[in-house]
C-alpha cells in the first residue's frame, strides 16, 4: 500500500481517537447523569499539567497517569458532592456553576504555572514503520490507549453487574431506587469516572499541544459538538461524531485556514441541532 495513504489513514485514525478519548469523559457525565460539565476542558488541562509536573520533576511519564487520575478524581468527587448534587433537578444552574468552576480552575492554573505555554517532550520519540510508512510512535501509543480505554469501558458497561445497574438507574431512576440500587453512590462514582477520563485525556495529549491555562476551552467545545453530532447513546455515536467533526475540521482547514475549519464545525453542530428535535438525548 502507498505509504502516503497509510500515513493519511493513520492521521485520520489519530484524529478520531483523540477527539473520542477527550469527549469520553463528557459523554459519560452528560449521557448517564444528564449534567453538562462545563469544567470538562479544564479537567483535561489539569491532566496535561500533571504530565508537565511529572516531566519537570524527572519522573517517568507513566507517573503522570496516577497523578492526574488522583487529582481529577478528588476534584470530581468534591464537585459532584457539593456543586452538582444539589442541582440535579436544575440543569441550567449546573451549567452555570460548572462554568464558574471552569473559571476558577483556569485562574488557579494561571496562578500556579503562569500564562505562558509549556512544551512537553514526547515520552516515546521516533517513528515506527507501519505498512511501509513511518509514523510517530507516540501517536500510535495514543491510538492504542484510546482503543483500549474506549473498548474496555464499553465492554465493562455492557457486561458487568454494576454497569447493568447503572444502565437501569439511568433509564428509570424511580424503579432503581425501589429495587435498592444505591443511586446516589453510583451517580457520584459515575461523575468521578468522567472527570478521571478527562484527566487521562489530558495526560495523553500533553506532549502534542501547547499546555496553557486556556487550552480547555477548545476541548469542551469540540467534545460538546462531537456529542451533538454523534449522540449520546453509544460508542458508535461517539466515534461517528468524532469522525464527522474531525473530518470537517481537517478538510476545511486544509482548504482555507484554521478559522474556516472552526466555522465549519460550528455550522455542522447547528445543523445537527436542527435535525435532533429532542436535543442530544436520542433515546426515545
Amino acid at each position: 500500500m502507498e505509504p502516503v495513504l497509510v500515513a493519511q489513514a493513520l492521521n485520520a485514525l489519530f484524529g478520531i481517537a483523540t477527539l473520542a478519548i477527550l469527549a469520553l469523559g463528557l459523554a459519560v457525565v452528560l449521557g448517564l447523569l444528564g449534567v453538562l460539565n462545563l469544567a470538562h476542558g479544564e479537567l483535561v488541562m489539569i491532566g496535561a499539567y500533571c504530565a508537565y509536573v511529572a516531566q519537570a520533576n524527572g519522573w517517568p511519564y507513566l507517573a503522570a497517569v496516577p497523578l492526574a487520575i488522583g487529582v481529577c478524581g478528588v476534584l470530581g468527587y468534591a464537585v459532584e458532592r457539593w456543586l452538582v448534587r444539589p442541582l440535579y433537578q436544575r440543569p441550567f444552574d449546573t451549567l452555570v456553576v460548572t462554568w464558574g468552576l471552569s473559571l476558577l480552575l483556569r485562574k488557579c492554573a494561571e496562578a500556579m504555572f503562569g500564562l505562558g505555554y509549556k512544551s512537553l517532550n514526547e515520552p516515546i520519540g521516533g517513528t515506527v514503520e507501519v505498512l511501509g510508512a513511518a509514523y510517530p510512535s507516540y501517536r500510535l501509543v495514543l491510538i492504542a490507549v484510546s482503543v483500549v480505554v474506549l473498548g474496555g469501558l464499553f465492554l465493562w458497561y455492557a457486561r458487568s453487574r454494576t454497569g447493568t445497574r447503572i444502565k437501569a438507574m439511568v433509564g428509570n431512576p424511580e424503579l432503581a431506587r425501589a429495587l435498592g440500587i444505591p443511586v446516589t453512590r453510583y451517580a457520584s462514582a459515575t461523575f468521578v469516572v468522567g472527570t478521571c477520563l478527562a484527566g487521562l485525556g489530558g495526560v495523553l495529549i500533553a506532549p502534542l499541544v501547547p499546555v496553557q491555562p486556556f487550552m480547555g476551552l477548545d476541548h469542551i467545545l469540540m467534545s460538546f459538538f462531537v456529542l451533538v453530532v454523534g449522540g449520546l447513546g453509544s460508542i458508535g455515536g461517539l466515534l461517528t461524531g468524532s469522525a464527522l467533526i474531525g473530518g470537517a475540521n481537517s478538510v476545511i482547514s486544509a482548504l482555507s485556514d484554521s478559522t474556516g475549519g472552526y466555522f465549519s464545525v460550528l455550522a455542522l453542530a447547528i445543523l445537527f441541532l436542527w435535525l435532533r428535535p429532542r436535543g442530544i438525548h436520542a433515546r426515545s
Binding site: 444552574d93 452555570v96 462554568w99 496562578a111 467545545l221 441541532l273 436542527w274 436535543g279
Partner: protein, 586 residues
C-alpha cells in the same frame, strides 16, 4: 410618561432618578481625571453587562460570548473613525456600528432557538464558540483588523477631546441604555420574557412565538453590547482581538451575576464595582481573580440576588407610595366566524414502541360541554397534547373549522382560538396575579409592536371584571401567584384560559385537588362560560358526579381509541364501558 402618571407613581421615583443622574454627571469633578477615565471605560462595559442581565436574569438563557458583539462594534466603529475622520458621516456610521451586532444577535437567536425543548446548553455553547471564532478571525485577518496588535490610532469622537468629555459620552450612553432596558422590562415584552424563563410551555399556550421572543431578547443584548463597543473605539483609541474573545465575555457574566442579574441595575453595579476593584486590586492582591471566581460560584449557589439584593430593603422603603394606574379597556378579540367545529380523523401517535393514540376519531360538532373519560393511560391528556400541536401524529388529520391543524406549530394553533388548562395548575408563579391575567389578555389581541407599550399592562376586559366579582382574589393585583393556594391557582389558570376568549377550550381535570365548595364554583364558571360565550368546552374528568353535572355529551377512550360516546345515561348503561372499568374475564 404623562405628568399624571408621574404624580401617581409618586415623587420618590423621579427624585431617585434625578439624584442618581446628577451624581453620575458630577462625579468626574469629584474624583479627578484618572478615575474619570477608568469609570468611562467601566460604564461601557456596564452597558454590555446590562445585555447579559437581560438574557440571563430576565429571559432565562445564558450568553457566554457577548465579547463577539462588543468587539465587532468596536472594530466597525474604529474602522469608520479611521476612514471618515471628522466627517459628518460618522453621525450615521457610529450608531450603525452599534446596531450591526444587534441584528447579528437576532439572526443567531433565530437560528439557534428553533425547536421546542431546552435549548439552554446549546445556546450557551454556540455563543461561546462564536466568541472564540471571532477572536481567531480578528487575530488572523490582519489586513482589516490589524491582527494580533489590533487597530491602532483610532481618533476620538469629533469635538470631544478630554477625558472628561469621553466620560460624559459614556455616562449619557449608560443612562440612556439603562432607561431603555428598564422600559423594555416594564413593557409586555419584558413580562413575557420573565414568564417564559420559568414556564415556556405556558407562554406558547397563549399563542406567543417564544423562539422569536428569545431571539429578540438576544438581539437587544447584542445591541447593548454594540453600543458599548462602538463607543469603546474612540474612547480607548485601540481595538484588539482580546475584546472579542473569551475573557471579556466571562467578565460580563461574572459582573452581571455578582451585581444581581435579576434586577435592572444589578449588572451595572456589578460591572462598575467589581470592575473598579479588579483593576485596582488585581496586582496588589495575588489571588484576587481566584477570589472573584469563588465569589461567582457562591453567588450562583447561594445569593442569586447579588449585590443589589443587599440594597433591597432600602429600595422597598424608598419605593413606597407607588400605585397602579387606572385600567384600560382591552380591544375586542378579532371576531372569527364559524362554529369552532373540531374533527379528529384516524389519528395515530406512536412514541417508540408504545401506541399512545390508535386511530382515534372524534368530532365536536357544535358548541357545548363535552367530557372525555377513560381509564389511566387511555390517551386523554395525550389527545389534548396532540390537538395543541405538542405531540406530533404519524397518521390522520385534525381539522378545526375546516382548517387542517395537525402539522401546525402550537402557538399558531392557539391563535386560531383554542385555549387550554393543564392538568397540574400551570400559572406564572413568580409573577404578580395582575401580570398573569395581563398575559392572558394579550393572547390573541396584542399585535407584535404593541408588546413594546407599557400601557398594555393595564388592559382589562368585561369578562375580567365579571371573573373578579366571582373571585375577589383575582383583583389582588400585586400578590405573587406563588402565594396562592392550590385551589386558587386552579381557578387563576381557569380564568386565564377563559380570558383569552377561546372558541374551543380544553380543560384537563379542572377540579383536581379542589374542595367540594371550590369544585361547585368551578362547575358554575364552566357552565356560565359555555352559555355566555357559546364556546365548545372539552373537559377531561375522572369524577363521574362532575361529569353528570357538566356533560352534554361524553366520549369514552380506552387504549388510545374511542370505544363509546353518548349521553351520560347511555354511557352508564353501556356494558362494554363498564367492563373496561371493572376488568374483563375474557
Amino acid at each position: 410618561m404623562r405628568a399624571a402618571d408621574l404624580r401617581r407613581r409618586g415623587v420618590p421615583l423621579a427624585a431617585r432618578g434625578g439624584v442618581a443622574v446628577a451624581a453620575v454627571l458630577l462625579l468626574p469633578f469629584a474624583v479627578g481625571d484618572f478615575w474619570a477615565y477608568q469609570l468611562g471605560l467601566l460604564y461601557l462595559y456596564a452597558i454590555a453587562a446590562l445585555g447579559v442581565g437581560l438574557c440571563w436574569g430576565r429571559a432565562g438563557f445564558l450568553p457566554l460570548g457577548q465579547g463577539l458583539f462588543f468587539g465587532l462594534a468596536a472594530y466597525l466603529s474604529g474602522l469608520a473613525l479611521i476612514a471618515f475622520e471628522q466627517s459628518p458621516w460618522l453621525l450615521v456610521l457610529i450608531p450603525l456600528a452599534a446596531c450591526v451586532p444587534g441584528v447579528l444577535a437576532f439572526a443567531i437567536g433565530v437560528l439557534v432557538f428553533r425547536r421546542r425543548g431546552e435549548s439552554g446548553p446549546y445556546f450557551s455553547m454556540i455563543t461561546l464558540a462564536l466568541a472564540l471564532l471571532a477572536y481567531q478571525l480578528a487575530n488572523n485577518w490582519e489586513s482589516v483588523t490589524g491582527g494580533f496588535n489590533g487597530l491602532k490610532g483610532i481618533p476620538g469622537l469629533p469635538g470631544l477631546d478630554s477625558y472628561t468629555a469621553a466620560y460624559f459620552v459614556a455616562a449619557v450612553a449608560l443612562i440612556a441604555a439603562t432607561l431603555g432596558t428598564g422600559w423594555l422590562y416594564r413593557a409586555p415584552l419584558g413580562v413575557l420574557w420573565a414568564a417564559l424563563a420559568h414556564n415556556e410551555r405556558r407562554v406558547v399556550m397563549f399563542g406567543f412565538d417564544t423562539n422569536r421572543l428569545k431571539a429578540v431578547a438576544f438581539g437587544a443584548s447584542g445591541l447593548l453590547a454594540g453600543i458599548g463597543g462602538a463607543l469603546y473605539a474612540p474612547q480607548q483609541g485601540l481595538v484588539t482581538p482580546q475584546l472579542c474573545g473569551f475573557v471579556l465575555s466571562a467578565d460580563l457574566v461574572i459582573w452581571a451575576a455578582v451585581g444581581g442579574r435579576a434586577r435592572l441595575l444589578g449588572p451595572v453595579l456589578g460591572a462598575i464595582v467589581i470592575g473598579a476593584l479588579t483593576s485596582g486590586l488585581r496586582d496588589r492582591i495575588q489571588f484576587w481573580e481566584i477570589g472573584i471566581a469563588i465569589v461567582f460560584i457562591l453567588v450562583v449557589l447561594l445569593f442569586p440576588q447579588g449585590l443589589v439584593g443587599v440594597f433591597a430593603p432600602l429600595e422597598r422603603w424608598w419605593g413606597r407610595g407607588t400605585r397602579r394606574a387606572a385600567p384600560i379597556a382591552a380591544p375586542a378579540r378579532p371576531a372569527v366566524s364559524g362554529d369552532a367545529r373540531l374533527e379528529i380523523d384516524a389519528i395515530a401517535v406512536q412514541l417508540g414502541d408504545v401506541r399512545i393514540l390508535d386511530r382515534l376519531s372524534l368530532a365536536f360538532e357544535r358548541p357545548g360541554i363535552y367530557c372525555v373519560i377513560g381509564p389511566n393511560g387511555a390517551g386523554k391528556t395525550s389527545t389534548f397534547d396532540m390537538l395543541t400541536g405538542e405531540l406530533p401524529a404519524q397518521a390522520g388529520r385534525v381539522s378545526f373549522d375546516g382548517r387542517a391543524i395537525d402539522r401546525m406549530q402550537t402557538h399558531r394553533i392557539v391563535r386560531l382560538g383554542i385555549g387550554r388548562k393543564f392538568q397540574i395548575p400551570s400559572v406564572f408563579a413568580h409573577l404578580a396575579i395582575a401580570d398573569n391575567v395581563a398575559i392572558a389578555l394579550w393572547s390573541g389581541r396584542a399585535r407584535p409592536l404593541q408588546l413594546l407599550r407599557p400601557r398594555l399592562r393595564r388592559w382589562s376586559s368585561a369578562l375580567l371584571d365579571e371573573l373578579q366579582l366571582r373571585y375577589p382574589f383575582l383583583a389582588d393585583a400585586e400578590r405573587t401567584a406563588s402565594q396562592l393556594s392550590h385551589g386558587e391557582r386552579q381557578i387563576l389558570e381557569l380564568a386565564m384560559a377563559l380570558l383569552g376568549e377561546p372558541r374551543l377550550l380544553l380543560l384537563d381535570e379542572p377540579c383536581a385537588g379542589l374542595s367540594p365548595h371550590e369544585t361547585a364554583a368551578v362547575i358554575d364558571v364552566i357552565r356560565w362560560a359555555s352559555e355566555r360565550r357559546g364556546a365548545t368546552i372539552v373537559v377531561i374528568e375522572h369524577d363521574m358526579s362532575l361529569v353528570r353535572k357538566l356533560a352534554d355529551h361524553v366520549f369514552v377512550l380506552h387504549n388510545g381509541s374511542l370505544i363509546a360516546e353518548g349521553s351520560v345515561a347511555a354511557i352508564q348503561a353501556n356494558e362494554a364501558v363498564q367492563a373496561i372499568y371493572v376488568g374483563a374475564e375474557k
